[in-house]
Structures are given as C-alpha cells and as structure tokens.
Symmetry: C2
C-alpha cells in the first residue's frame, strides 16, 4: 500500500502538516514529535478524512489541517496507552516514555492535544467539534468498560462489539464525519460515508485483535497472546464463551487454570473449533456492510481508491 | 475561609455543577468523580472565574458552567500528576489511580477533559477557547522545561519565575480572563483583573513551594523535602544558587553529596541564610503588585472579597 503513489503523496502531506502544527522551539518536544512522525504508521484516519472530503468541496489547506489534527489525537492516545501498558516498543521503535520518561511522555501527549484543539478551533465547525468531544468521551468510557470486563467470563458478543465500536470504529467514523461535513456533504451521501467508516473500523479492529493469536511480532511490534493473558477477551475467546459446545470447558479453564496454562489451553480450543476462521467471517460481514455503503456513493476514482485501501488494510498485507 | 458563608455558597454551587457536567451512567466514572469532589480542595480557580465576572454581566447558569469546567481541567491535571509521581495520597485521601489503577485513572482524566471541552464549546467564546488552548500548551511546555531543569545548578531566579508562571499563574490568570471576558469586561478593567490573577498565582506558587520545607504534612498531604530530593529546585534553593555568599558552597553540595545528605545540608543553609524569609518577601512583592491591580478596580464588595481571599490563600491559614 505504501508504494501506491497516491497514498504516499497524501501521507507525506499529512506528515508535513503534523510537523508544522506541533512545531515548538523546545528541543524535547521537537524531537519527540519528529520521532513519532518518522516511526511510521498507516495514517489511516487522516486518509479517511481526506477521501471523504473529495465527495464534496473544501480547500486543501483546511482539510489537511483537519486530517493532521485527527492523526495527532490518535498519536497522543498511543503515547498515553504505551505509558499505562509500560510498553517499551511500538512498531519496533522505542516508545516516547521509554525515550523521555513517563512524566515527559504525558506532557508531550497533552501538548499535542492542546495544539490539535487549537487547529480544530480554527478549522472545524461547532457541530464537528461537538461530535469530536462526544466521540472522545465514548472512547474513554469504552476503555473503562474494557477494564471492568477484564476476566469477565460472562462477556457476550454484543459486549465485544460495543467495545471495539468505542475503541476503534467511532474514531474511523469521526474521521469521515468531519471530512464529509466540513466539505458540505449532507444527507444520504454523508450517512453512507459515516456508516462505511464505522463498519470498516469494526472489521479493522477484529482483524487487529486476531493478530494477538498469530505471532506476527515483526509486523505489529506487539507481544503475542498478550490480550488473553492480561484478561482482555477478544473475538475468538468471546466466541468460545458463547458457543454451546465450548462454553463450559472455556469457562472452567479461565476460572481454574493459571494464566500461562489457560493461555495454552484456550489457544488449543481456538484452533480446534476454528474460532479464528469464524472471527474472520464475522469481520467479512462488517466488510460487506461497509461495501454496501460504498456502493451507494458516486462511482468515481475516490470510491475505487477507498475500496482498495479497505481491502488492503483489513487483509493487513502491508 | 471555608466557614465564610459567601465562599461556601459559591463552592457548593460549583461542586454541584461539576457533578452535573461529569455525570455518567458508568459506576466507576461516577464514583471517581464523586470522590474527587468530596476530597475537597479550595476551588480557588472557579472562585476567580466567578468573582471576575461580577465586574461585568453574565447569566449565573453560564458562569457556573465555565467555573466548573476550569476546576474539572485542574482536577484532571492532578489525576495525571499523581499517576506520574506515583503518589498514593492527595489531601489525605487515596489518589484516583491508587483506587482504580493507572489505566482507569488516565481515562477518567481524559473523560473529564472531553466533558469540559464540550461545556466550553457551548459556554465560551472562540477568543476564550483559543486562550485556553494557548495556556494549556504553555503549561505542558513548562512541565517539560521543569524536567529539563532538574538538578540544574545553573538555574536562575528568572528560570524559576518562568516555571511557576507556567505551572500556576497562567491558569489563575486564565480563570479571571474568561470570567471577565465572557461577562463583557474589556480594556483596563479586564487587564487589571487578569494581571491581578497572574501576580496572585506567582505568590501562591512560591508559598506552595515553601511548604516543601515546612513539614506541614497534615495540611497538604504531601511529603516533606520531596522537591529538593527529586532535583526540583524551588525558590529558597534557587536563591542559595544565585547569592554570592552561598553559591559555591551550594553548588558543591548539590554536585558531590548523595541526595539524603545534600537535602540535610541544603536545609541547614536555607535556615542559616534565612532563605525562607527572603522567599516570603519576594512572594510579598507579587502580593503587592496584585493589590495594586486590585486598587484600580471599582471599590465594591467583590473587590473586598477578592482581597480577603488572596490574603487568606497566600498565608495558607486554612
């Protein structure tokens, strides 16, 4: 995907804008931001902002400011996440708090947020800013809920869907929401773009969660089986917990075994009952709903490009 | 001060509004916020918002929303601070992260900020919101700078003043800024209110820093000598480092001794050269400048009340 010239051009323009917005004469801030930008990442959320805007009209200057702002918010949540999880690496690079210390990392995160709010003040309508506040509140609620649901063997698939909606899909949705709204898009076209991004976000997070069982440490920079061991049950486990055949056995394991053994036994069950396959077919349903929304949009280059990005992203072949 | 009925009435109304703004059906969020409100605190920043507004005109509903918002922002910075400092107690009560864990505490802090932004969206003018963003950026820069200046024996008094300006005075200033601006106050009256709050904030932080040397653990809930030991040099130490008579000796101690011995020896020097007294007289100069600004305001009940609050707060006799 990165070799796609169109994608790369947008990504570079977003990165430039991020550096411009967050520029500061303080050398630590400057270094931290440069590191974050250079560490890479797909810039998926800003791409969604920009592609949504192409179904309407907006100045380039404005839409790149908005897109960069969304990515900076995303970056600062990653900084805060890494502090809490005490993660040393992200995408193979040292995390901000590992380089500069926890205290610095929190304030670098907060600095980034305040800079973004200022950019949004000048580039977003009140309606979009209200939507942003709402989404951030819901994301926080989602994280708190995820914590409350830790080690909860009574978790339902609906609980799981609600969690990933808040964790990921809402920010995908928000990206297309503000890209579209600020470009004057309204009505059905607006709804299809928003719903497309929500459904895509759901599929994206399911696939992301599946990586926890696939040991592709080199690609994601995350440890394997970490979610399960830390009591966060993602879709394959949730399916085991809600399937007549596997329910009781799974609960028994999670209730009685120590974490290391439980992890091993659960992975065996997941493989035996092909819960990865089942999870993937659920992700596919979200992809299908996303595509159905896309189909309702004008058939142009942008629509084709969005489809291509979604297919590549969900497959994770990047 | 708390027994003053007028003060108590405002404080109660602010607390009610804080609970209303942050209300959430999630029980952890609800409990965390109730704890924070019940843990007490002076509500100094919201009081400044409200008293500044009384020199102009504004609906009660609106000004209490703004005042509560400022206090919620302050609360969430305290939550984040306590996480980083790994502090177990604040005002004698368990800190949020001690009760709910670090992860929860970060998201409770972020939730509070997003709720406040939403309140500010509806109750503040663009100008005030831009000022808020600017102040938050500067506060973050200040914290980063404080970190860079840790154990810096070349720190000047000007460095120290710049630090406490960002750390405390700017948020005091912002409180009166938005209280006044949103009440239609402009020109000289506006400047005097803003400058009053800045100068008061400077004096307040100097006195707050002095508590580190006074061992009133029961009042502040903080440990004693903690700043010095952790390499944060507050005014008495900065004065030692910038006084011809004490400079070399102080530098030698901070350079060569281990932290425990350095702490003991520095406290001896502070007492010998009465650097607490000298710091206090510097704080008094800021109080004087604050009073000079106050004098330029209409001589009414509010002005008298502000004066009374400042005198009580700086003396810390509460």
């Amino acid at each position: 995907m990165w070799k796609n010239k169109k994608y790369k051009d947008i990504k570079n323009k977003v990165d430039e804008r991020i550096l411009k917005i967050t520029a500061n004469k303080n050398e630590i801030i400057q270094e931290a931001v440069t590191d974050l930008v250079n560490a890479g990442g797909k810039r998926l959320r800003p791409i969604l902002v920009i592609l949504a805007s192409r179904f309407g009209e907006i100045e380039d200057e404005k839409v790149y400011n908005i897109a960069a702002g969304i990515e900076i918010i995303h970056m600062s949540t990653l900084i805060h996440d890494d502090i809490i999880d005490e993660a040393d690496l992200r995408r193979g690079e040292k995390t901000t708090h590992k380089r500069f210390g926890k205290k610095m990392a929190v304030f670098i995160g907060d600095y980034l947020i305040s800079r973004t709010l200022d950019i949004f003040e000048d580039n977003l309508s009140k309606k979009s800013r209200k939507k942003l506040n709402k989404v951030v509140s819901l994301i926080c609620e989602g994280e708190i809920k995820q914590f409350q649901n830790k080690n909860n063997i009574e978790i339902s698939t609906l609980d799981y869907f609600r969690r990933i909606r808040k964790k990921t899909a809402l920010l995908f949705g928000l990206s297309m929401y503000i890209g579209a709204y600020e470009s004057g898009i309204r009505g059905k076209k607006f709804n299809h773009l928003y719903n497309f991004a929500i459904e895509m976000g759901m599929a994206f997070q399911i696939e992301d969660d599946l990586l926890d069982f696939q040991g592709k440490e080199d690609i994601t920079g995350k440890n394997v089986g970490k979610d399960l061991e830390s009591g966060i049950y993602t879709l394959p486990v949730v399916l085991l917990l809600n399937n007549k055949k596997t329910k009781e056995k799974t609960k028994e394991i999670l209730r009685n075994e120590n974490k290391v053994i439980a992890r091993k036994k659960i992975i065996e069950l997941i493989n035996k009952y092909d819960m990865i396959g089942e999870s993937r077919s659920i992700a596919e349903k979200f992809v299908k709903k996303a595509k159905n929304n896309l189909k309702e949009l004008p058939d142009n280059k942008t629509r084709k490009f969005i489809l291509k990005i979604m297919e590549r992203q969900i497959d994770r072949r990047y």
